[in-house]
């Protein structure tokens, strides 16, 4: 089971309820084909860096999909024919997340090994920065 991030841009003159309808349609379609949408993030209306189909702004939406590749292929096909969607991008993230988890584990084991002097203070001090420092890149 792979994890993908699908980000797509919807035309800015879409109303909220149309947007909700679109999202729920896509969610149910992914659900019926056997995947799950772990997360839906509406990143709001943003100015585009270049004109896309004569639009200068767009509403950004991010899906985190958990499933097989075929599910994403079907989802992309739907996005391509849906008229309000003007651009989409799919990125596979499960390998990257595995690598990040490994790096974090190695780093934490280093910290624990080194923390013989004032071990409690060290653990407390490094828990705060790592929680702040390492989750921010992912959440941004």
């Amino acid at each position: 089971m792979r994890t993908y991030e699908v980000m797509f841009i919807v035309r800015p003159d879409m109303s909220d309820e149309d947007l909700d309808k679109l999202i729920s349609t896509l969610e149910s379609q992914v659900g019926t084909s056997g995947g799950t949408i772990k997360n839906v993030e509406r990143m709001g209306k943003r100015r585009l860096a270049y004109m896309v189909r004569n639009f200068a702004d767009g509403i950004y939406i991010l899906f985190t999909v958990h499933g097989e590749g075929l599910i994403v292929r079907e989802l992309e096909r739907r996005l391509r024919v849906t008229e309000p969607v003007i651009k989409f991008l799919t990125v596979r993230v499960d390998e990257e997340q595995k690598r990040l988890a490994k790096v974090k584990k190695i780093r934490e084991s280093h910290m624990k090994g080194r923390g013989t002097q004032a071990a409690a203070a060290q653990a407390a001090a490094e828990a705060a920065p790592t929680a702040g420092g390492e989750t921010t890149p992912a959440n941004a």
Partner: protein
């Protein structure tokens, strides 16, 4: 010239001009096989730069930023020129693996209109 013995990647064997200074990979000086574009190690011929440019460090290695995300366009925008081009790593000091990931992330961000392909020139 005797200097040519050192350079292995020179396209033409004989150089009638004395200064082989514009050789991109030529290490004429006593510096033994440093990185190709001498980074931080000066030398009188370096594309016009004088001795010992301040040693630039990789921002990602220092701050221990693990994941370079295409969504993080503010971070990516620091490595993009005014014209929208990706800045080469000899100017920013980024290390090679991070530069590769950064480059992929910038290209992904460009595709999803978070960064321009070509900005104002």
């Amino acid at each position: 010239m005797a200097d040519e013995v050192r350079t292995s990647a020179g396209p033409s064997g004989e150089q009638s001009s004395g200064s082989g200074g514009d050789r991109p990979s030529g290490d004429r000086g006593p510096r033994p096989g440093g990185p190709r574009g001498p980074r931080g190690s000066g030398g009188p011929r370096e594309g016009g730069r004088k001795y010992f440019r301040r040693k630039k460090v990789c921002k990602f290695c220092v701050e221990k930023i693990d994941s370079i995300d295409y969504k993080d366009f503010r971070l990516l925008g620091q490595f993009v020129a005014e014209s929208g081009k990706i800045v080469p790593r000899r100017l920013t000091g980024v290390c090679t693996p991070h530069q590769r990931r950064l480059s992929t992330a910038i290209k992904q961000a460009r595709n999803i209109a978070l960064l321009p392909f070509a900005g104002r020139m």
